[in-house]
Subunit: 298 residues, 2 copies
């Protein structure tokens, strides 16, 4: 896992425009927003899914970088004063604090464009149709019926109580969609999966996408700012509904655990399917990530 994280750091550093190229301040801020930070959960998932389909790591690193740039852009825009108004991210001042609001806005805009550019500027699938489908997956995952839509639902919901169904609807969009896309795009870099295996993988991705957010909510309520590298306790301070406010901390942890079990069951079905069994147990990394996502402390 550490190997892929280190590899991704180098890949992102290579794929982001140099701070020596005009516009220099924008490029420096794009690098600041993306490099040296984060758990790289989405790239790890893309690599793990690519292991299942025997994808070329040279393809996976580009696909993973594209997804991570979308994630980085979303954090920069989320932290802006008109959104969460946060000053700390990954243990550093947020982009609009370190630079300025206008630059942070453009950093997010340009990172989104760069993500799509990466997905088409390199050969990432055996045929071009499959690669168009990868772009489609990413675009849908970050649009108004994906991540950006989840943010909008979050805005509308702030300050009023949500029930569990509304909370889940929000998070399926806000964080789940991009996590699911990371898994599907990683898998798409390799040999196409049979329909049953593809459905199993997608079910895994949905479970861990939701589990990721449940655990995030628990950590936000219980961990310290120093551990998280971002402001802790923000949700409560902003009157936001979370899995902890709706379910309570203990039930939220149990829910995350149930999702972890369900995700791993989905993987078992993939391993058991005829197509995959011939190729050995290549769901190990996906299983390990389900554990990591639910059992993490930061």
């Amino acid at each position: 896992m550490g190997g892929i994280q280190a590899r991704m750091e180098a890949v992102l550093a290579r794929l982001l425009p140099s701070a020596g190229i005009a516009p220099a301040r924008l490029h420096a801020a794009m690098r600041y927003a993306t490099l040296e930070g984060g758990k790289r959960v989405r790239p790890l998932l893309a690599f793990a899914a690519g292991e299942l389909t025997q994808a070329d790591p040279a393809r996976l690193e580009i696909a993973a970088a594209a997804v991570e740039m979308i994630h980085a852009y979303s954090l920069v825009h989320d932290d802006l004063p008109c959104m969460d108004d946060d000053v700390l991210r990954r243990g550093k001042p947020t982009v609009h604090v370190e630079y300025d609001e206008a630059t942070a806005l453009l950093v997010g805009d340009a990172l989104q464009a760069l993500a799509f550019e990466l997905l088409v500027a390199h050969r990432l699938a055996d045929d071009a149709e499959a690669q168009l489908e990868m772009v489609h997956l990413l675009a849908a995952a970050c649009g108004s019926r994906g991540m950006a839509g989840g943010q909008a639902i979050d805005l509308e919901a702030t300050g009023r109580p949500l029930d569990l169904a509304e909370l889940e609807f929000m998070h399926i969009h806000k964080t789940g969609a991009l996590i699911r896309a990371a898994v599907r795009i990683g898998a798409a870099c390799g040999t196409p999966l049979a329909a049953a295996a593809r459905e199993g993988l997608d079910h895994y991705a949905k479970c861990i996408g939701l589990a990721f957010q449940v655990v995030d909510d628990v950590l936000d309520a219980q961990a310290s700012t120093a551990t998280l590298g971002k402001t802790a306790g923000k949700d409560a301070a902003q009157g936001k509904a979370t899995y902890v406010t709706v379910l309570g901390a203990a039930a939220a942890r149990e829910f995350a655990e149930a999702l972890r079990v369900e995700a791993k069951q989905a993987l078992s079905k993939i391993s058991a399917s005829a197509a995959a069994s011939a190729c050995g147990a290549r769901t190990d990394r996906l299983a390990a990530l389900a554990d990591f996502i639910v059992l993490r402390k930061f």
Copy 2:
């Protein structure tokens, strides 16, 4: 021209998510930002370039909508308080005034994603490789070395004098890149052009992209807010370098006129080239648009 504008209004209305779909407020704001406004210069250029390559209008309307959504997103973000802080656009309150800043931010983010989704969700070129190249053109045109980069250069330059070369560098990125992409993507919907014709078309696009901005600067300095549908005289008020401040109004008009002539000369070369001459004079619309862009009063 009016026919294409009316057609684009219907196409955009169809392709934008309905305001009845959740998140409803975001979708309503995306429609507010995109519909009922603008000259639709980029769609007109895409259609005109597609006429040259005998492109199917059903493809052109999708490609043109994608480019127009990028343009609409850029206006919404430009108008935000941290950027130009403008309250009027296309004769209506800007999105952050009509809705709120957070919604305006998400409108731009989601429109960008939707533009890319449109370019891959429909068959727009005879082969998938060519379609990947269309996505590449759009992504490069709106990223840090295109439109977003031009915005960043604009930010860095505000309040200090620019020379003509710096001003041109800024505008080639800020407005020129997307106009050029509109022309190239429109042409790519049809029969591939020979290299010489493609270069001629690109030269035309560069000339009219720059001319568009020169005329914008002249109009900003000379026309009224009512005529423009956006706040007039903003450039001077913000201490921004423009073609009027650098060259003076008369020389700026002459420069735009010279670019119009150069653009039309580039078209003549396309018409004269063997490949195109067999198919008649299908640069008429492109020529008419060069006139429209330079001679317009709003």
